[in-house]
Amino acid sequence: MSDIKTGIGRYITKKDVKRSGLMALWFMFLTFPIMVVKVNTVTDTVEWRWINMFIVGIFSFILTHVWKLMIDRREGRIAAADNTGETTEKLSWRERLDEKPALKRTASLIFLALAALFPIVTGMYQTSIMITALLYVVLALGLNIIVGLGGLLVLGYIVFYGVGAYTYALLNYHFGLNFWLALPLGGLFAMILGILIAIPVLRLRGDYLAIVTLAFGEIFRIVMENWNGLSFGPSGIANIPRPALFGLDFSIQQSTTLTYYVILAFVVITIFVVRRLEDSRLGRSWVAMREDEIAGEAMGIDMWKTKLAAFALSTFWAGVAGVIFAGKTTFINPASFTMWESILVLCMVVLGGMGSIPGVISGALIITLLPEYLRAFSELRMLIFGAVLVLVMVFKPDGMIPAIRQKYEFKGISGNKKKGDK
């Protein structure tokens, strides 16, 4: 890439205009039947909406231009990095932040304080949305252990969330178990199921593992939908008590706030645990497994145990989150645990940046809050959401906040810091 032009000259050249024009024509052709023609097969009438064609044309003309500029910029940057073997590029803000642990600590504390004040400042509606978002943060951090650190693709993660929720709902229904006891039990049951599922399937590799976990997820949902004796089928279980303290009667508002603090505490614990795990012997074996299983085995890592540990630890969080979910909504049915939810959690992990805790958290927050606050565009929101997924991946393939690899380097002589490989 030697012909990278700089300045305004490259923004509009004749060639670009021609290209965008052609692209616009192509998109007008492409969207013609679906955007323009609308057939009503019952009354046999055809509606022609020519105006849509012009809209598509204009939009795609502009968008192809922007697209080309962005792609050029991306490739230009890559090319620049290739040419000058020693990049003098400035460090990313995260790497700079890593240099100053005190600043980092203060920043985290400020974040935590803001999060703690959230239910006091805002109303119950906002708190309730935030609880859902934080539930997904816990889920995403849990899945991140398997996918981000361990490199195993799992598409049925929501099962374990469902197991947690059903554990609380059913034990409460039959034995009157309270929320606080259900919390560890839900995690435990999810973990046991995780291990049971993992044992037969762990010898599968890559996408085979993905599809088998997806299959387990679907089987769980369908069984829950049809086995009325156990799960009350699609009508679900209602009147699950909200969490309360010391046997007091809590109003909805109070228990929502309580739930918020419970989930916030769990987010903090999860972050702490995952953070500690990352640098532990186990965490390093996970990374080794992700990078190269065989090399890892050659270094004396027991892959079997490592994989099993990833499954067990990861599913535990999902189970706990499930119990909190049941306590929050007071009603669960199989429709909450579809494959789509698993895919969404996976999106959070990858969109944020696999293996990076701040990345996964922001991924989860964005994916849960974006559709919520896009309600203004009610109809368009899922369309925008899909487009955002594609765009983020195209322009930031490693996620929004990619993980920084721990590295030790010699920085004596030149004093120049090199940018890491990620």
């Binding site: 955007m35 097969t41 399937v201 590799r205 369908i222 369309l383 899909g386 991946m393």
Partner: protein
């Protein structure tokens, strides 16, 4: 347990299997070449069905014979599906060739959501009745209760597509290039194969067969909506994995096995658990044959 019922279920299974096979081909080919689970493939199938519906609706006034309308609609739908497939590849997958594999997967999921909602917004969320355009074949009259015309056409078309497809892969230059690219992309480039073109062609072919599946199943079932692609896509993906993903005969075999399992499972045991049979069967097969029925067991290399 009479034999007519058995044959009925068997043919029903074959019909389902044929449709899965038409979609699974695209999955497995794309996977074989760029190792991407193309989640949006089911959406291409849905767009094929919708285009056919729209074209046949728009042509209804011309007074052409239904079968002619059907053929025109089918051709237009195939062209459009192929165009969508190729455009999708250019936008969402090509920039991600060197990126981590999961990023491409998420991009595919995003594309799938985008296309679903695009059809939902531009058309409708309701089920649309699909016009009956295929005239009943006279010679099928005696066995009408076992096998109707659309089923017959589905089976025959699938068989023809499979044969053409095998010929394409085996004996043409582009087929050879596709096999080479699937084996080793860099080596293929070294011997002068334009890998980008091959990938584009793969999407083109895969999308066309998906469109054929879409048109056929819509005329069989009689109604479509924007969501049909997702479920069918997942099923076809399961079929492709069952047969060993990346292997074309595997995808076909997997599809038929899946179709028959579902058909017999629902017919003899319970219709509530239709999908459970498919998935449970998949799990059992994969536990005993970790790379699918016909998949090559990949040797671990250091």
């Amino acid at each position: 347990m009479n034999s007519t019922y058995f044959i009925e279920l068997f043919l029903g299974g074959l019909t389902r299997g044929s449709i899965y096979a038409l979609i699974a081909l695209g999955y497995t080919m794309v996977y074989g070449i760029i190792q991407l689970i193309n989640f949006a493939h089911g959406e291409i199938y849905m767009i094929g069905a919708f285009t056919a519906l729209i074209v046949s609706g728009a042509l209804a006034f011309t007074g052409l014979a239904p079968i002619v309308i059907f053929l025109i609609a089918a051709v237009v739908a195939i062209v459009y599906s192929a165009s969508y497939g190729v455009t999708m590849e250019k936008i969402a997958y090509k920039p991600l060739r060197t990126a981590p594999r999961l990023s491409a997967l998420i991009s595919a999921i995003g594309m799938s959501m985008f296309l679903q909602n695009y059809v939902l917004l531009a058309q409708t969320s309701d089920f649309q009745p699909f016009p009956e355009l295929i005239p009943d074949l006279a010679f099928l009259k005696p066995i009408e209760n076992i096998m109707n015309t659309t089923q017959f056409i589905i089976l025959v078309t699938t068989a023809i597509v499979m044969v053409l497809f095998t010929l394409l892969i085996r004996y043409t230059k582009i087929g050879k290039a596709m096999r080479a690219t699937a084996q080793d992309k860099i080596m293929a480039q070294l011997v002068g194969i334009n890998v980008n073109k091959v990938i584009m062609f793969t999407f083109l072919i895969g999308s066309s067969t998906a469109a054929i599946g879409g048109i056929l199943i819509s005329s069989h079932v009689g109604q479509i909506n924007f969501y049909i692609g997702f479920i069918a896509g997942i099923k076809a993906f399961v079929a492709a994995v069952l047969g060993g993903i990346g292997s074309i005969p595997g995808a076909v075999l997997g599809s038929f096995v899946l179709g028959l399992t579902e058909s017999f499972g629902t017919g003899y045991i319970s219709s509530d658990y239709e999908d459970v049979f498919a998935f449970a069967f998949l799990i059992i097969i994969l536990i005993f044959r970790p790379s699918g029925l016909l998949g090559k067991s990949t040797k671990k290399k250091v």
